[in-house]
Symmetry: C2
Subunit: 230 residues, 2 copies
Amino acid sequence: MILTLREGRLHVLVVERGEAPFRGMPALPGGFLNHDREEILDAAHRELNEETALASNWVHLEQLAVYGDSDRDPRGRVISVAHLAIAPGLPDPLAGTDATDASWVPAEAVLSGEVELAFDHRRIATDGIEHARTKLEFSSLATAFCEEEFTIAELQQVYEAVWGTKLDTRNFYRKVQAAKGFIIPVGTDRRSTGGRPARLYRAGPKTVLFPPLIQPTPSATEENPNGEEE
Amino acid sequence: MILTLREGRLHVLVVERGEAPFRGMPALPGGFLNHDREEILDAAHRELNEETALASNWVHLEQLAVYGDSDRDPRGRVISVAHLAIAPGLPDPLAGTDATDASWVPAEAVLSGEVELAFDHRRIATDGIEHARTKLEFSSLATAFCEEEFTIAELQQVYEAVWGTKLDTRNFYRKVQAAKGFIIPVGTDRRSTGGRPARLYRAGPKTVLFPPLIQPTPSATEENPNGEEE
DNA sequence: CCCCTTCTTGTGAAGTTGACAATAACTGAG
DNA sequence: CTCAGTTATTGTCAACTTCACAAGAAGGGG
């Protein structure tokens, strides 16, 4: 599953299936091992490249889980190793790719079921998005959604888009800078669209965030309605 | 990989290989799908039962990751779906099991390389133990190491054994009880070995812990040696 | 020069964590 | 019954962290 940020919202790449089963229905991009010697991670990189023509050394790519239910593909037993790829915002046309019938759909549309996916791909997408949401808290994964150089405001937009929440700007600045090794200042500024120039940062060496950036709990106010205690 | 607690320490179940390759060397228990229709999770349960004769509805069992490097098995391409099983302390002899050549080895011995495992099983074991350590922080996984009814002191021993640290008893009591839905009191006590009876608890409905129980950082004191600041 | 836009920063109150030791409840021996 | 031994359980204060909250800084354009 390939995730990116477009217009401040989380999007998933889907391809329209050209063959049965589920012909014409959107599905997560994927494919089979080319030969017996192909490494699984290499195959994931290859598929990623075929779908997005992305310089694959730039994108984050990790293994998610295995989906192997015997009835998940009507053609027979297919065991899929789901991977999660994350890339900075990509252009809409996806020009020059094999799959011209590929498109970005908002993550919300997949989660809500508004867009139906082939096979058990909705389940996979749900798991993957949940994985990304959780991992934003404890890892530097958010930088994978950004270009090489980014501003703190952009990084905040990543968190807000993936979590679907609004964050306090001042506290966000303090926290990301407190997590040493998360982001490191480049030194130069970026001329913005008519405002104060923003400092640029690059992803730091640390992949685990400490202290973590905890997702605000929507149930914080309704947590203890009438103060029940032992 | 099957983990348990024995004598207050984390142990891994290994079986001595009866055939080449790696004949006579310890390996993680495992096997192949029986037939084309067998579900992966069912197969994991089956293997677990064959090795430990455990009532498999009692043990925690979850998927870990896929290991599919083309050269990880000299016989040819083998793709393994690693699973993590966790059970309360089991008797030593492992009587009545298929694998009479099975034994518990301390996790430390595997991590340090003191005990060498066949294939890439040391890598798998390392990943699995690390997974368990992390998951103790944010989930109720620790209760899987305990019997149905357990005391807070026993639960603390789980954390200390898996993390390899000592924890403050009073703070531990406060934290586990603050995480609503983690453990729920049974009401009865257990007559202990000559001390004050301990209250018994069962695992609560919540699987995610909030607030989490953070692993103490050994580097807390040496974090900022000479206070370097911007 | 002024207004607009965007980025950046500080403070005080409230809550949380971590270090620390005394007491409660039972068992078994005398 | 009493006492010693053993294990389980609980409270407090200081240090730290988090949250809520608004004003100023730096550039662009008219």
